[in-house]
Symmetry: C2
Subunit: 365 residues, 2 copies
């Protein structure tokens, strides 16, 4: 794909989004023939945004083989659509899919997104196509990576400000709120997802919801959070110690840190997703903790928090160049606690670009 060169103005790159959206639609149009459809009806909100720039909870875009497109949305979004969507026809219509599907002879629909009920209402049995726009979205252009870089920078800065305030007695909820407020104050659109703050024994639950448990001296505290910026999701996890560090805590932390480093080093265009997972998982398994690392090593990030590719033992694909992805091994010991360390990075031919730059040394607060 083309790399879009941005125009640098007052130190900030200005991207011509009209050209970028046009090019994305052209790449989609080029894929239609191999799916035996003459147009693709895109209904998934994040994909409509990717192809047109419109953010709406009720919009659809039909992209034809000649790369021409029609967007439908309702009265709430129509003014914005007319302003944002250049180079495509925009029509006002409440049943956004119903109208557009009739404009093609052999339309495809997004089978992974469209519900069984909606598909039945559409009639005419359009061809189910799986994840075609998601495939386009895997490799990011530089405008997307820049947004993600900003999102990660806001995440780093919020962590630096909040970590300085953590002390025994603060609850998990208060730390989560402080991180989220600080990201927004610094310029994030909002938190990219519900933050995890898990202290002491709660650290054994990978996706623990912040509770009213006050931090205690001797706790490990795992914080998994990130900023959303211009639609792009940062994702970072750090585990810190409060007051003191016991032997098993230090040992666990060092193990996870080594595994995370091995995972990062394995990230390269051409690497198998299961190989990257294995590079980190092997160290944890060899140390006897394999059964306590129950999730995949990482996932793509972009307009969604979790998107292709996924790093896991059952993965089968290969990484490409310019793919933002997380590396996040963890070990969770029921009743005792856990450690997870996660960065967001971008695959590059000359080695991964690290977007989350917070230290991975064990901070003892």
């Amino acid at each position: 794909m083309t790399v879009f060169q941005g125009l640098i103005t007052a130190g900030r790159t200005v991207w011509d989004m009209t050209v970028i959206h046009e090019s994305r639609r052209a790449r989609l149009a080029a894929l239609l023939a191999e799916h035996d459809v003459d147009a693709m009806l895109v209904t998934r909100g994040v994909n409509v945004r990717y192809l047109t720039g419109l953010v709406s909870s009720n919009a659809a875009v039909l992209v034809r083989g000649d790369a021409s497109a029609v967007l439908a949305t309702d009265s709430r979004y129509i003014e914005t659509a007319r302003r944002v969507c250049s180079g495509i026809e925009v029509i006002e219509q409440r049943d956004v899919a119903g109208g557009l599907v009739k404009m093609a002879e052999r339309p495809g629909i997004e089978a992974h997104d469209m519900s069984v009920a909606r598909y039945r209402r559409l009639g005419g049995e359009p061809t189910p196509v799986d994840g075609i726009v998601e495939l386009l979205r895997v490799v990011k252009d530089e405008s997307e990576i820049e947004a993600l870089r900003t999102a990660c920078d806001l995440t780093d800065r919020a962590f630096a400000d909040v970590v300085a305030t953590i002390a025994p007695g603060m609850t998990e909820k208060r730390i989560a709120r402080a991180l989220e407020s600080r990201m927004v104050e610094l310029g994030a659109d909002k938190p990219a997802f519900d933050s995890v703050v898990a202290s002491g024994p709660n650290g054994a639950v990978p996706h623990h919801s912040p509770s009213d448990r006050p931090i205690e001296r001797g706790d490990l505290v795992t914080m998994d959070f990130g900023a959303l910026y211009d639609g792009y999701h940062a994702d970072m996890t750090r585990t810190v110690a409060v007051g003191t560090v016991s032997g098993w805590q230090r040992e666990l932390y060092d193990l996870v840190r080594e595994a995370q480093r091995a995972g990062r080093r394995a990230l390269a265009p051409g690497a198998g997703t299961e190989e990257v997972d294995a590079a980190a998982r092997g160290l944890i398994t060899d140390a006897g903790y394999g059964e306590h690392f129950g999730h995949g090593l990482g996932h793509g990030v972009g307009l969604e928090l979790h998107e292709d590719p996924f790093l896991s033992p059952s993965g089968a694909g290969r990484l490409e160049d310019r793919v933002p992805i997380t590396v996040e091994p963890g070990v969770y010991l029921p009743g005792r606690g856990g450690v997870r360390i996660e960065d967001t990075l971008v695959t590059r031919a000359d080695g991964p670009e690290l977007l989350t730059r917070t230290t991975k040394e064990l901070l003892v607060l």
Copy 2:
């Protein structure tokens, strides 16, 4: 349905959620026969939460005709599931739907939620059922209304604090962030949705995203926002004036306020949803602004921001008792601006309970 009586402890009602979840599953079980299924496979996250209390991005619950149930989730959520879900079998499984569907002879699936692709992968053609749990969710129990009351109270308090700071020069984005941060500081889980702050001509766009436009003297500013508390969504809109109010602005405001009052007064158990819409819309149409009120009058709120019932000209249902719902007429004049006023209320036999209590007098800041 049963009204659950809460236990008042230290001024706060404590609900026995185990009993409440059990009762919800029993009500679902009682509906299965009429859909010609012997079990319902519930995959929609918000419905899994409603039936079991578990908040997870990958969980499903199978509810059988005898009201027994099995919940499946993956390793990330399994510890929480075992703690939260009482009275049901909990199994660890990554493909949460695939395993559960085999446990019933004639299972139903959520046709409005399950994707075409997932349905095909399941195999065996389970029966598509539309919105069965959503139907149960329309009438709220008092534990739900209490959560919503708290969410609305946080929304009111954040508005009071932030409105005092609005002045010419502040950008829409800054106001949005201030409202969102303040709600979280006061105790909200997070904002219930992306806030709308639309000033001056931007007020003509009902779902305008906050921009860098600075507020100007003479602007109307519409703020549509709310707090999320314990999973429940508050939703409130107020339009204020900055500095001065012109004749057309005052006239438009008074019209929308009268229409909103008429809509609220029409809210009653037994009222037709299109009648409530008409009560407000009639005033706006009579004043000659009918074409500038392009959306429905309101929507149910609860575990989702927009849920049944919907108040619109094409509605056909009737309201029941204890249904939280918004009333939000608006008039949008392209190029000039707009006014919207919205409350969250609950239908009650003796007149609607107003949950958002911020004044609807025109504030001139």
